[in-house]
Symmetry: C2
């Protein structure tokens, strides 16, 4: 059986209060006494019971991690879709939470609040929300704080923090890069425009088209993004009288689907068609040709999101608050038309 605080107190010949003080650093304890307690703790291999601590402190030090994606229709919920981005945000968030002695619970985005209550969730981290997720349905005043990765339409209350990239800036950079490479008619293939990052892409794309005098070509695909759907969409717009000569895709799988469609039709990438993914992923590096993409720095996003949430929970920071994680365009073969190595 594991030792409890009373065992430690007995062994160190002090009261349990003193032991508690030593552990928490609160209160004053004489150095000698402290030493004795520490020795007793080490001898007994004592660890404070986490459930007792949480019961009495009324805090669970537990965060929910939710990816707000595509779970609507499906029956068996996919907690973590197969995307590098999500995985890296999760890994970083989990490490950071552990470091701060918090527990990260991966929950489906469509669990209702009773489950959250049950686990005594202190804070929620929600990736790519649309804003209509259950968690935002503010019935009176819920017990948790929220940090979103991506913005929602919800008004910025004092319960919400935001970690985001500047997608409009990188989209602009992408379009400039494409123009520099001689592409004249970029198209946009994206999933659900209900998410802020896809909306940012589309908004900036439309601004650009207007300024440059292009006719915009936007295809909005249902979620989840699949290579098949992207390939079909690409085939369709490439069959136009005036087809696009570059395609900006909102997700790695969409970019890959476009690549396959292009290759099927005998188009050369990057010569006949430029391809960019708005989200980087390791698979884009090893595609042939490698695919230009925007690196969003998911690791930093995960860390900053957890930090923001915890510091708000511990009253060291106030919401609303917003952090922009630096991101950058990574140019690869799929858009290097001017110095292209001959690609089939």
């Amino acid at each position: 059986m594991a030792a409890n605080i009373r065992d430690v107190a007995k062994l160190a010949d002090v009261s349990i209060t003193t032991v508690s003080h030593v552990i928490s650093g609160r209160g004053r304890v004489a150095p000698a006494t402290k030493e004795r307690v520490l020795t007793a703790i080490a001898d007994l291999n004592y660890q404070a019971n986490i459930h007792a601590q949480r019961l009495v402190s009324q805090k669970s030090r537990t965060l929910a991690f939710q990816i707000a994606s595509f779970t609507q229709n499906s029956n068996s919920t996919t907690l973590i879709p197969n995307s590098n981005y999500f995985l890296e945000v999760l890994n970083a968030a989990s490490n950071e939470a552990t470091r701060r002695e918090y527990v990260l619970l991966i929950l489906s985005a469509d669990v209702d609040s009773s489950l959250m209550d049950r686990y005594g969730i202190d804070g929620v981290l929600i990736i790519d929300p649309r804003g209509d997720e259950k968690i935002f349905q503010t019935d009176s005043n819920p017990d948790w704080l929220i940090v979103t990765n991506g913005r929602t339409v919800n008004e910025l209350t004092n319960r919400i923090g935001i970690v985001d990239n500047d997608h409009r800036r990188t989209t602009r950079e992408t379009l400039i890069h494409l123009r520099d490479e001689g592409y004249e008619r970029p198209a946009l293939i994206t999933t659900d425009l209900g998410r802020s990052y896809t909306r940012d892409l589309a908004d900036e794309y439309l601004v650009w088209c207007k300024k440059e005098g292009h006719t915009p070509i936007i295809v909005e695909l249902p979620e989840p993004p699949t290579q098949q759907a992207a390939a079909d969409a690409a085939r369709k717009i490439l069959a136009r009288r005036l087809p696009p000569d570059a395609i900006l895709a909102s997700a790695e799988d969409l970019a890959l689907g476009v690549l396959h469609a292009a290759q099927d039709q005998g188009l050369s990438v990057p010569r006949d068609l430029g391809i960019v993914s708005a989200v980087d992923s390791s698979v884009l590096l090893v595609a042939t040709p490698s695919i230009t993409a925007v690196y969003l720095d998911p690791e930093t996003t995960g860390i900053r999101a957890v930090d923001m949430l915890i510091s708000a929970l511990e009253d060291q920071a106030e919401f609303p608050q917003q952090v922009i994680v630096p991101s950058e365009l990574r140019i690869r073969d799929s858009t290097m038309r001017r110095n292209a190595r001959g690609e089939a």
Copy 2:
């Protein structure tokens, strides 16, 4: 503030014991009383405090999920490597745990047992262990049960359950398939032979070579598996006087690396070289050509592992116990030499 059991008791005009009985289903409660209690619970939106329940029951209903991979050297630990297999096992395990009202905690495989004690972990699910992970260092009698996905060298104690695939059978099927397609000199590229699944591949491969009179070609690469390392290894063995005409790779990224190396050298897949991955993944489907692979059914593995662990924890089953999850070879273009569509 959330209601507690006393609020419910007061509202229903019963004792807290009766409320507890209604919730747990234990004890006898008159139908009418039960009805009143249920109404009170609904009215107050009552949820039993999970920390109090866990404190008194001395059970945490918490499982640790660990992927025993590649974390040795790296500093910031990668909890979940970027592999379809792991992700799908995790998704399935997490769903199943939630369904059974357990919490799944994703922990790094190298956390020491004090963290596990701290969280009061009841059971550990460990994917692809080598057997030298900290969790197996049986200092006296730990408080948790273990289920491994893959076998370890540790003796089968009453604390361990195993969920595995029959890798030897599928390896045999793979080699037969390759022979049927006319490949005569298969090679094996694998990571760390310390894991049971890679060992199974190698053992069965060696048996086959002996029987068929081949000279075995095995390349063992350090972890983690990267396309680069596999490509380098492939180039090397393809440069031999008598190069292999088929390569069996132990992971998706290794297979992709081999594919790139082959294409770089102007070899046609499947004509000049057959490629098989011992683990299926969605990327293998969309590679060009698509790559033959063994489907391990990670979803079933995740569910069975959690089930096994929970039923052992709840005394409905005894360890040691072993379950084999059915797996199958999925033949794709990369080995269909006889009916090959011309591939560059």
